[in-house]
Symmetry: D3
Subunit: 135 residues, 6 copies
């Protein structure tokens, strides 16, 4: 079993805010992230798949295909978007790094064939990132 | 003459848009950056000052003081803000990386004493940055 | 289960030395790291916690709280210190990266509530780091 | 159990090509990587071992020894080489990142004493890497 | 005057070799870089242009256009190529980092309109790079 | 004229302290850097030379020679040392990053032949560095 990671990225705006909370509670919990006019990030996305290398190509998966899947289903959807306003997540969702990573996993999983999705790592800043392994 | 650089950062939302242009022209010129709901970046800011080292401290400027000036006058003002909506630049300004860098120079210059501001470098993504030397 | 990582750092001096060994044996085992007058490093510290995202905040833990815990209990204690002279580890300890990482785990574990400490990664240089998972 | 990682690197040329395929099929599968005159990479190699810290040294393994093993058995062999032409892998092998990582594991494993090899991570570009854990 | 930098990259094979020298002299001067079967690098390319920001766009040059010019005239030509075998430089040229950077400058200069090319920086490894300012 | 940069590094301990000041003044000016038992850094050193490429080698200077000069005269002298205790600078010197960079310039300059030393950049942390151009 070999693990293959591909890095992609997207830039997006978001805010962290609970509409049924008071502004004061939003400030207390989310701090500057609750700014009503949004802020934004350069998100770095690392997708890891696992499998056994093909005896001819030496690939567990063609990394060009992996890159295309990530670009088509994730980066084209999220890049230069407002994560609170522009995205139909399919359910009400606070766009925290944790929740976006889980959504990316669920979106990618159905497109990875022949090998298995292993990890989605989403980096919000140089100092903060999350990893999700599907369970 | 020695050059001293201090790196700081801030996260912000912005869009690039000319209100007196058609949406089509905005799309043609600014592409995804014209998304009306904004997008955002992790901005990395590098401020370089120059001067001669003090014979006792060996400093051209105490880097703690430089950091405090940048934080107070730039990062506190721009961090987790919407560069189109939240900031009073003092004049109408398209918040391109170029224009923000020039504004940072003009803001910082009056607070640097005893040595000279040399360069403001503002990095928007890993692949794009600008530098301004004050003229 | 989602994994959240926060990066912090501290700068410290140390040496690797066994007082009951001869200087020759110290040199043979520790090389330059045995210099009696110490050397030092920029230590990069990565702390990973795991848990399930809160349905309202989307957080497994507020990263501001995680950062505060690390700063208070680790960075404030170790930053700009001599790891051989200035720190009360609670037991005799060679300040190798391995041992410091284990001490950081043991110190942090009691302060992480509501989610679980998963990994302490301590990076000594760009080329050397250790990870400890608590057992 | 503590995990210790050492980073090393080597520069090499390679191409991805199946001699019993048509040039068209090689192009379709490998794209630019099939260029008959080769291309090349700066390979970053991360080797992780695991064990318990020695009570005197605080080391699970002396990192100087780990570095020497990697340099002697891997970097001296692969650095500034053509991975298709210059290396005797011991068996016919497509020099994909996956296959090279497995070969590195198998080569290193017999030289790691007193602690255990845990992971070989081989990075081909800033955006692509593989990890192998020995099974 | 503001300076704008765009980073791109390409992967290539090369060797450093003077055909009219003996193999021994080639080894003495170029060391491992003289390996007859080539080696390779991930080249990072930084192109800096300078000019005054447009009053409407805030751009000294649209970075999408700059990226397209670099990709079309440099990366498409050099990526996944053998710098000794595959490229028509227009004159006999040792493919050292210095010489490739000068060639990139000369190639790009004629395509930069409305603002000026300022610097071509070409990075061969994390530890080695060259800069050329056109004279 | 082409500029060639080589990166090297060393790890060292130091403190910033004026013996003829009170401890209180040392604390006020140098803060944590005045800790009497020292702290330390991973110093990254970038040396830039300039010249014209040789028509045969394509080099302005053989980067192996540049690396050897830096290692012999700087890294061997400063690596794993205490910058206050172990080094004979030739004159009384506060080991600030500024002063160490100037000393490195003065030490290297006499060993660079056939091309010219252009810049010494010394990085103390990811956020702080100095550059010296010899005047």
């Amino acid at each position: 079993m070999v693990y293959l990671t591909r890095k992609e990225h997207f830039n997006a705006a978001h805010k962290l805010y609970c509409n049924h909370w008071t502004p004061e509670k939003n400030d207390a919990v989310f701090g500057k992230c609750a700014n009503k006019n949004w802020h934004g990030h350069n998100y770095e996305l690392y997708v890891t798949v696992k499998g056994e290398p093909n005896s001819e190509t030496g690939f567990i998966m063609n990394v060009k295909d992996l890159s295309l899947i990530i670009d088509t289903h994730i980066c084209e959807v999220l890049d230069h978007k407002n994560l609170n306003e522009d995205i139909d997540w399919g359910y009400p969702m606070q766009p925290s790094t944790e929740n976006v990573a889980i959504w990316i996993w669920n979106t990618l999983e159905k497109h990875i064939k022949d090998c298995q999705l292993h990890c989605v790592k989403l980096q919000e800043t140089d100092k903060i990132w999350v990893e999700y392994f599907g369970k």
